[in-house]
């Protein structure tokens, strides 16, 4: 498929070469690691130690400092995965399939964290670990979507076909996410169980909100760091027989 005129700029294609990505991201890693360490420790100490306790929920509300950032990234992570898959399908880029493969377990883990922390938060707040609330249910469905993509990827023995198949599934899931969310929301309002409504403090006090922002920023940095590390590991694995990886390994050993 020879193109007469390049559609995408040159840096895009440089980014698309596994070797280029590997050498480009090497200097980013210490910065990302330092930023996520500082933000996460700072945000956690601030949020857990210094932010005031909630008037109604006491100290149990502090779990939002983990719950909300992980739920944020669980959602954003699905789009990271799907967009990477779409880029791979359109421009036939090996690297973006690797990014998709790396993003899937990461997003599933974050979805699981947000479900578990939500359940732990629910016990002291609502008196039960689980209610069929619209948001909880959609998070659970999101978790299933992630599991489906991961399972499909692992079922294929051919790495390239695995990437393409998982990308198709991720894209179909993307088209469905808004529909699933709306229908679950509608289903919930139809049934309206007698349980307590989720008290998402409508106007959070800034002293509680600022540490949350720090934690969200920290989670984003950590996500980027782990995603890049995952992609690099995948690159090394797939290109293990290529000259530059062998060279890298030899230099690392000596």
């Amino acid at each position: 498929m020879a193109r007469t005129r390049p559609i995408m700029p040159a840096w895009f294609h440089r980014l698309g070469s596994p070797k280029g990505f590997y050498s480009m991201t090497t200097p980013w890693l210490p910065w990302l690691a330092a930023a996520s360490l500082v933000l996460l420790i700072g945000g956690a100490v601030w949020g857990l130690g210094f932010a005031p306790a909630d008037a109604k929920q006491g100290n149990s509300f502090r779990i939002i400092y983990i719950h909300v950032p992980s739920a944020f990234l669980a959602l954003a992570g699905y789009y990271v995965m799907a967009v990477a898959g779409a880029i791979g399908l359109i421009w036939r880029m090996k690297l973006s399939f690797m990014a998709m493969k790396a993003a899937a377990p990461l997003g599933a883990a974050l979805t699981l964290i947000s479900l578990v922390t939500g359940a732990l938060w629910g016990k002291p707040t609502w008196g039960t670990y689980w209610v069929w609330d619209a948001r909880i249910t959609s998070m659970l469905v999101l978790f299933f979507l992630y599991l489906g993509v991961i399972a499909l990827h692992y079922a294929y023995t051919n790495g390239e076909a695995a990437g393409k198949a998982a990308a198709v599934l991720a894209l179909v899931g993307t088209a469905n996410i808004p529909i699933i969310y709306k229908s679950v929301d509608w289903w919930y309002t139809l049934h309206q169980p007698a349980t307590i409504k989720l008290t998402e403090a409508p106007s959070m006090h800034p002293s509680m909100f600022q540490p949350l922002l720090v934690m969200i920023a920290g989670f984003y940095c950590l996500y980027a760091l782990v995603l890049i590390l995952n992609i690099r590991a995948e690159i090394l694995h797939r290109e293990r027989s290529s000259h530059w990886v062998v060279e890298l390994a030899r230099r690392g050993r000596s």
Partner: protein, 234 residues
């Protein structure tokens, strides 16, 4: 979709009809296979009174949701066979290589799948309504919602079937990847029946089911065709 100018449009329409006729003939020659989802449907309906309660008032509460869940599972179980036989005997390869647009051929196969599973399930559903003491107001909406809903389920299931056709023992995986996508159809289908039973109009929900079907008709043949290409050629 190569060389559309060489192949006249009539040939495409004829190919569509030919595939439709072939798949229908094949389905009717394997009547036993065709009956399996229906038998499953009725058998699970027997399990509910045995496992929960034979008391008709409680069954009536469960009936709309239970019948819909069972129809969904029956459709899911039959989705695996959508491309499997054609994949094994090489027909699928020929379809992918043929000059006709693959999405149209896929659409023919999905249509036949609905005609031999979704439609019989819909026609059989009043029997289950009686077995599970569904109130009389629910029967009409049950059939309409199942007719629309199972068509949408066939459309969605085809994507999963195409993605897993080349994988040995892909059946369980198929359920795993398709079930989350089925959920909106289940929600609107079951609640249409529930609304009718509660004395309200199910028209809105049936309209949404129709919209879901229209949307899946637009998306699914293309996604399925793409998935088939990946499955066959990597």
């Amino acid at each position: 979709m190569s060389a559309p100018d060489v192949v006249p449009t009539l040939a495409t329409g004829r190919a569509f009809r030919a595939l439709l006729a072939r798949d229908l003939t094949l389905a009717f020659r394997h009547r036993g296979e065709m009956a399996n989802p229906l038998i499953f449907f009725v058998m699970v309906a027997t399990l509910i009174p045995l496992g929960v309660t034979p008391e008709s008032r409680q069954l009536a509460v469960l009936a709309p949701g239970v019948i819909w869940v069972m129809a969904l599972l029956a459709s899911l179980l039959s989705a695996e066979s959508l491309f499997l036989a054609d994949y094994r005997d090489g027909t699928l390869e020929q379809l992918v290589l043929s000059p006709q647009p693959l999405w149209l051929m896929v659409l023919a196969k999905i249509t036949v799948h609905w005609l031999v599973t979704g439609l019989p399930l819909t026609l059989l559903s009043p029997l289950l309504g009686i077995m599970l003491s569904l109130p009389a107001a629910g029967f009409g909406p049950l059939m309409v919602s199942l007719a629309l809903g199972t068509a949408a389920l066939s459309m969605i299931g085809a994507i999963g079937a195409a993605l897993t056709v080349a994988i040995s023992r892909g059946g369980l995986l198929l359920s795993l990847i398709v079930m989350p996508l089925y959920m909106p159809v289940l929600i609107f289908g079951a609640s249409a029946v529930q609304l009718a039973v509660d004395g309200m109009s199910p028209a809105g929900n049936l309209a949404v089911l129709g919209a879901l079907l229209a949307f899946s008709c637009l998306l699914s043949p293309f996604a399925t065709a793409g998935a088939l290409r990946v499955s066959l050629h990597g």
